[in-house]
Symmetry: C2
Subunit: 297 residues, 2 copies
DNA sequence: AGCGGTAATACCTTGTCGGTATCACCAACT
DNA sequence: AGTTGGTGATACCGACAAGGTATTACCGCT
């Protein structure tokens, strides 16, 4: 049973005439007669009762006509769905991100994305930066919003640099170092430091260690909480000096703490990452939108 | 887009291998490659991503695979439904009948029919005998349970004689004629008669008139109600003598009225009628069942 | 480097589909 | 009643698409 045959049958059953149906289908009448006869043979039962001048639909034919309508409709719809999916206008986007530093960025992009691609379902997954990389690599995510990994393990993964930001020290307002114009890494020597746990972000954590190492001293890690907000809480309570990316400043109350850029500048960045081989049109649409938004505003 | 192509695509997408899929489909691998390529061309988008040694399903392909599953399932189911319908095992039977005299007969047959053909929906329509004939003729009913029509207007309609029954007189128990052994039509001369309205059944009504005519007198019609039960009510109230088919006796209380066969016997019959040209398998199944039940019990 | 296995390509064969011409038949209208 | 127009079926033919065979190009794995 083929869709072509069903289309033919449908035409005849609707027109109740082989010749008119043939005309409508732009084929010759004998071809149509044969097609219907073959279909009847295949199903083992007459579908149209023809007594030389009148065509009637048999009960079996009536059933087939109904089913054919459904079938042909679904087939057409399926083709459209496939094409929409190919254009990135339909489907789903599994997007992994790393939490606070990406939330404001995500919010803006997603708002616009949902407007332009309303039939795409965005599935958000919050994970650690390494886990995001791993999941993108394994295909469990279509797209990751994360920090670059230190190791060069970008096997076939495409990245797009979104933002670079300097590392800052966070101090309680009353801290002696809070009033200097510009803070040197070396000033942190001996100070109790509060840094995000390494398991929550190898890139960021190691970058802090690197800053200290370049300034020629080993850091004194007082606490390594697993949530960025907790770093700020520790600082507020006077437990030490926090080292965080600049964007974290937006999370903090401005009067109780001060953020000081550290010199020499150590940059941490935010990237989009995806598997180019997967050639997912939704991913491409999303990246295109991100590029566009970065260019315009 | 053809079902054949979709079957091919499905095989490849499931096996994730052209050669294995080709084996499963019992065709050669190059044919498969071409079929899938053509399908991709038709839909205007890659469905399978093949990098020489691995086959992956693209997002568009995943969508098509899902839709294909539905489509092929429905197609198969449709074919089965058509075949079941052709065998009379599925579908509907629009059955017209004429009321009281057929109810007991119908009940028995329908009970058995529903057991043997549980997927056939029986639609019952109660009409006058003429209306049943007309509807069967016009194809608005598949089958009629009615009385034969007097006119020979059985154009292509097949009939099956179910039952013949004599006409009876119904009298109140106290009536002078109630005690005679056998009642002659001629005894009805001058008696007020109660007969079913002609519009409710030309055949029955005219047969009563014929009985009187043969006995050589014109009937005195006291009442012609449109419901058989009302005939009995009139008789009970002493309004006259009813003339009804024998089977109506089952409707009446035995103590207040008596039923007397009329001589010479005038038979009215009950027939099944259907349009042979329609070749409806459900109709044939029903008739076969009726014949079988009449033969056995 | 060589082997096994993959999908793609080139080319040929065949079966199927569609077209033309014609027939048989019925219906409606002279 | 005979004719004519229109129906679907049949016979036959041609074209093209589908499938098959042989081969190539490429990759991963020994």
């Amino acid at each position: 049973m083929e869709l072509r045959t069903l289309r033919y049958f449908q035409a005849v059953a609707e027109e109740l005439s082989f010749s008119r149906a043939a005309e409508r289908l732009h084929i010759a009448q004998p071809a149509l007669s044969r097609a219907v006869r073959d279909l009847e043979e295949e199903l083992g039962t007459p579908l149209l009762a023809r007594n030389k001048h009148k065509v009637r639909v048999t009960p079996a034919g009536a059933v087939l006509l109904r089913e054919t309508g459904v079938l042909l409709g679904l087939a057409e719809e399926a083709a459209r769905k496939v094409q929409r999916t190919a254009l990135g206008q339909e489907g789903e986007l599994r997007l992994g991100y790393i939490g606070p530093p990406t939330r404001d960025f995500l919010a803006g992009v997603l708002r616009e994305f949902r407007i332009r691609y309303p039939r795409v379902t965005v599935i958000l997954e919050e994970r650690t930066p390494e886990r995001v990389w791993e999941m993108v690599l394994k295909g469990r995510l279509d797209l990751g919003l994360t920090r670059p990994v230190t190791a060069g393990e970008r096997l076939g993964l495409e990245t797009l640099l979104l933002r670079e930001e300097p590392l800052c020290a966070v101090l309680p307002s009353g801290h002696p170092l809070a009033k200097v114009e510009s803070l040197e890494w070396s000033s942190l020597r001996g100070q109790p430091l509060i840094v995000l746990a390494r398991r929550e972000g190898v890139g960021l954590h190691d970058r802090v260690l690197l800053g200290c190492q370049r300034a020629g001293f080993p850091p004194t890690l007082a606490h390594t909480p697993s949530i960025v907000g907790t770093v700020l809480t520790y600082v507020e309570s006077g437990a030490g000096i926090g080292v965080v990316p600049e964007s974290v400043a937006t999370l903090a109350g401005a009067d109780t703490m001060v953020f000081k850029p550290l010199h020499p500048v150590e940059l941490v960045s935010l990237v989009l990452v995806w598997n180019r081989e997967h050639e997912n049109p939704v991913v491409e649409a999303f990246c295109a939108l991100v590029r566009e938004l970065m260019a315009t505003g």
